[in-house]
């Protein structure tokens, strides 16, 4: 109790009171006065005013408390090592680590069998956003290039599969790498004109690019079947075996699990490689990294291309999952959701992206009852995040190299993964 009192002084309470009065005045016209234009009567709902007053007072106090606490704890310093704490706990208790790891794996494996098809479907979607987030994370989180047209690459993957199926009858497994490759090529093509751009300008250009791709798909009827989209895209098969719908849902779930594992494996290795370092160096300072011998042109092209690769791959999965695609699935909103996954989860952090995708995709599904307030909650979460955890839920931790410099030979350092 004294702990809480530490953050509360009379001044703070007064501030909260002022805030609640301000809110009562602000919401007075909409909350208290109710005009019935048919009967020409005005109803004064004074009890609403009290409700607004009390709830805004509570919220204001809570807000003050959180801010004060953050200040006293010395800003972001205290919030950083969440991931490290977990890891240290794992190192101290290896059995616990092993146990929980096995538990998680078992849970993942049996999940589709103990839950409904609906749940499995949602989880598959969330896994798709994990990969999309990881892909965009390369561009935005590591490379520092704000890309608002990411859904375009996603669309390219989906349309690659759909069109190749219609015209050449190609299946899911053949199209998966082709879709990824097509998106990569488009990524290179986009990277070339935006080489000189940074920050706001880059965001605008990529945004425009995303819209161009969508509008082309919408209007080029002969090529993409226009707004009516492409239907009857086959679900993935297993060595020629076709599944029923429930089986296919479970199958797709496992495909996504495998792809997520594959993506995390590759992205982890890349981000701690010679190449990954150049992405971060580019984010930190372009001129300095160029002066250190980094070919910035090449680095930009590879970040865009590698980011696009994952989006293209997931585009193919998306087409196979929904069996129907049209340009309306690849709007700016889609790009922004993926960007939010990265930002809320934690820029540059793989765990962060997984957590971010979980929150942003699963929560709205489970909170269907509040679906009309979805945007409101979304906005509130974003504002709160920026105030309290500007680095995202899981802050990225740089790899720590352990060095034992006085041993001789090639094995004289132990490199510990982050």
């Amino acid at each position: 109790m004294s702990n809480i009192l530490k953050y509360f002084s009379f001044k703070e309470i007064k501030k909260s009171l002022v805030m609640s009065v301000w809110f009562m005045i602000l919401t007075f016209p909409i909350m208290v006065i109710k005009v019935n234009t048919i009967e020409n009567t005005v109803i004064w709902r004074w009890n609403y005013l009290i409700g607004v007053g009390i709830s805004s007072f509570i919220f204001a106090s809570l807000w003050r408390y959180m801010i004060e606490r953050k200040k006293l704890q010395g800003g972001s310093e205290s919030t950083v090592p969440l991931l490290q704490k977990i890891r240290e706990l794992g190192e101290r208790k290896p059995t616990l680590k092993k146990g929980s790891l096995i538990g998680v794996i078992v849970l993942i494996l049996v999940f589709p069998f103990i839950t409904s098809m609906y749940q499995t479907g949602i989880m598959t979607t969330a896994l798709m956003y994990v990969i999309l987030g990881l892909g965009l994370n390369i561009v935005v989180g590591l490379g520092g290039l704000l890309n608002l047209g990411y859904a375009a690459f996603y669309a390219v993957g989906a349309y690659t599969y759909a069109l190749l199926h219609i015209h050449f009858g190609l299946g899911f497994w053949v199209c998966l790498p082709i879709g990824a490759l097509m998106a990569t090529i488009l990524g290179v093509l986009l990277a070339i004109p935006v080489l000189r751009l940074r920050g706001d300008y880059l965001a605008i250009v990529t945004l425009g690019f995303g819209e161009i791709v969508r509008i082309v798909l919408e209007n080029w009827n002969a090529f993409s079947h226009g707004p009516s989209g492409i239907a009857n895209i086959p679900r993935p098969t297993f060595f020629g075996i076709h599944f029923t719908l429930p089986q296919a849902t479970i199958y797709l779930y496992f495909i996504m699990i495998a792809l997520v594992v594959f993506t995390i494996f590759v992205v982890r290795r890349l981000e701690n490689s010679r190449m990954g370092r150049t992405w971060i160096a580019m984010r930190e300072d372009e001129i300095a990294s160029q002066s250190m011998g980094i070919n910035i042109t090449q680095v930009k092209v590879t970040t865009f291309a590698l980011g696009a690769f994952w989006a293209g791959m997931i585009g193919v999965v998306f087409a196979a999952k929904t069996t129907f695609i049209n340009p309306a699935s690849f709007t700016l909103w889609e790009s922004i959701i993926i960007l939010c996954v990265v930002v809320i989860g934690g820029m540059g952090s793989i765990v962060g992206v997984v957590v971010g995708a979980g929150i942003l995709i699963l929560l709205p599904e489970y909170l269907r009852a509040f679906s009309q307030y979805r945007m409101l909650i979304f906005g509130a979460i974003l504002v709160l995040m920026m105030v309290f955890r500007p680095g995202g839920i899981v802050t990225s931790v740089r790899k720590v190299y352990k060095i034992e410099p006085h041993l001789q030979g090639g094995s004289d350092n132990k490199v510990e993964d982050k």
Binding site: R277, A281, M292, N295, Y401, I403, G410
Partner: protein, 262 residues
């Protein structure tokens, strides 16, 4: 012997402003050369022309890493210039703030490494070996510069003097034959400046390289450099040994103003 760095009539115009005006300049093998001049004289612009940040509008820049066979490098991209063996630091510190000290130096090693994307994904033997070696080499450089205790700190958390030294360490990691320091002592206290003085001499001794520095701190310039070039309004107004420069009336005029008009 051919100078390892030579500029001939180097000129840089920004619109109507001539920031660098016909500068002829030489650095010989093993020399420490200082470039001084009042604020806004065009020193940093001159640096940027040499290192490829700007493309000079006139004149040429030649390098000769081995002391023979000059190569013209103007218009080359900064990363190419670095690959050729010219490494620089920045007047206002430009470290990779959110990378660790070790990683900053590892970035400096970048242009001497070759691992590609497939090496990184499949962790081929060559890549693993190279990564091990780069960690070792980088650590060794940090030890030389005296920063090894900060190895896993974020660059942004380092004290100011250490950040300056890290910039030098990062530049040294590119294995240059000529190190270009842009105001390395800016913002340092006298003691730190003295240490820097020692360090510059030590770097030259240990690595057998040449150093070109821009500096305002005259005590540092006079004590370390063998040759001084003075620029004012983009023009070279004097060159010579520290003692010659001290007595040069043009230099005194540039710094203190014309006595006759005072």
């Amino acid at each position: 012997m051919v100078p390892i760095l030579e500029t001939k009539n180097l000129t840089m115009d920004f619109g109507g402003l001539r920031a660098v005006d016909n500068i002829n300049f030489r650095v010989n093998q093993g020399e420490i050369v200082a470039l001084i001049g009042p604020n806004g004289a065009g020193k940093t612009t001159f640096f940027n022309c040499i290192t490829g940040v700007y493309k000079p509008t006139g004149g040429d820049v030649y390098i000769a890493p081995d002391g023979n066979g000059q190569e013209r490098i103007n218009g080359m991209k900064p990363n190419k210039v670095t690959e050729k063996g010219l490494a620089r630091t920045f007047q206002n510190i430009r470290l990779f703030q959110n990378m660790t000290v070790l990683e900053n130096v590892m970035i400096g090693r970048h242009c001497r490494l070759s691992a590609g994307i497939f090496g990184a994904i499949f962790r081929t033997k060559a890549t693993v070996e190279e990564e091990k070696k780069v960690v070792q080499d980088s650590y060794r450089i940090l030890e030389e510069i005296g920063l090894s205790k900060y190895v896993n700190e974020f660059a942004k958390n380092l004290p100011y003097g250490a950040q300056r030294r890290l910039e030098i360490a990062r530049a040294m990691a590119t294995e240059p034959f000529l190190l270009l320091l842009d105001e390395p002592a800016a913002g340092m206290n006298p003691q730190e400046t003295n240490e820097l003085d020692e360090m510059i001499l030590q770097i030259r001794r240990d690595n057998n390289i040449s150093i070109l520095l821009i500096e305002h701190d005259m005590s540092l310039v006079m004590s370390v450099s063998e040759k001084i070039f003075v620029v004012d309004y983009g023009k070279l107004i004097a060159e010579g040994t520290p003692n010659e420069i001290k007595k040069n009336p043009d230099v005194i005029k540039a710094y203190l103003g014309d006595e006759a008009n005072a």
